[in-house]
Symmetry: C2
Subunit: 167 residues, 2 copies
């Protein structure tokens, strides 16, 4: 992270928006820009914590999803839906995870047309260690008070629902 800016650049952009005659859109522009900027701060922190484990946050999410599934495996298309990532992005993540021996693609036992994604023993171990580091270094120490985290979840849950993220 570079040194702090003397003024919040998003507050400055909001002022510019208002002075250019787009006052009606200024708060929404500021909120959306702040959301993207904050996500990028968290993603940089998460990726830095996960790098020693050979993971990015996107690849960690794949391992975590498989780890929570009943059989430790899921069809690719279901993983893509649950992670809300495009099939090509998921394929990239899975290629990397397979190359480092953390997951493998296997045939579905009864449905010949479906390929399952399965956590390996190595993948299970990496998941446990990586999740421990994320819990300690990021989630226990996010820089966000508990009340703010709860409010944020509620606001974003309403938003994600409005966007068709879940029923």
């Amino acid at each position: 992270m570079p040194s702090p800016l003397p003024r919040d650049p998003i507050a400055q952009a909001r002022d510019q928006w208002i002075s250019h005659g787009w006052a009606a859109e200024a708060d929404s522009m500021a909120a959306i820009t702040a959301l993207m900027r904050s996500a990028s701060i968290f993603l940089q922190r998460a990726d830095a914590i996960l790098k020693p484990h050979g993971l990015t946050f996107a690849r960690f999410e794949v391992l975590a999803l498989l780890g929570f599934s009943k059989r430790g495996s899921l069809p690719m298309n279901q993983a893509s839906r649950l992670l809300q990532v495009h099939a090509t992005s998921l394929t990239n993540s899975v290629d990397r995870l397979e190359a480092t021996g953390m997951v493998r693609r296997v045939q579905h036992p009864t449905d010949g047309r479906t390929r399952l994604l399965e956590l390996t023993t190595k993948g299970k171990g990496v998941l446990i260690d990586a999740r421990q580091d994320l819990n300690v270094q990021l989630f226990s120490n996010s820089g966000m008070p508990e009340a703010d985290a709860k409010d944020l979840s509620q606001i974003l849950s309403r938003f994600r629902h409005s966007q068709g993220d879940f029923l």
Copy 2:
């Protein structure tokens, strides 16, 4: 966007976190994951709106920043700080913007060691049209009520301040 999921996957992950004994980290994990997922929804929408203008949201932000600067130009390192993006990411964006004639790199008039980034006439025109589309299609129609947008801005402003984003 694929069809909505029957249950919120972040709420499911939060339940899993609690049942695995990480209750103290569950709310923070849910808030951070929701933040990244919501930012990705907004980024996909913004990129789709900007594609016909030959822009991504990252490149739009460069144009918007230059458009608000007093002289229509800024030193590269200052643009990098204000956009809080790494110098290499900014270089990528600027390379694409320069290739399509929207910005140019010029010599600073008095400081020979500094290169300025300057908006071209074409870049100014594209900025005006692209910003109009973002205002109408995204910021006026974000899917987030005004009160939520304001609360979100305040929560994220406190968070960004805590992370050294601005003084």
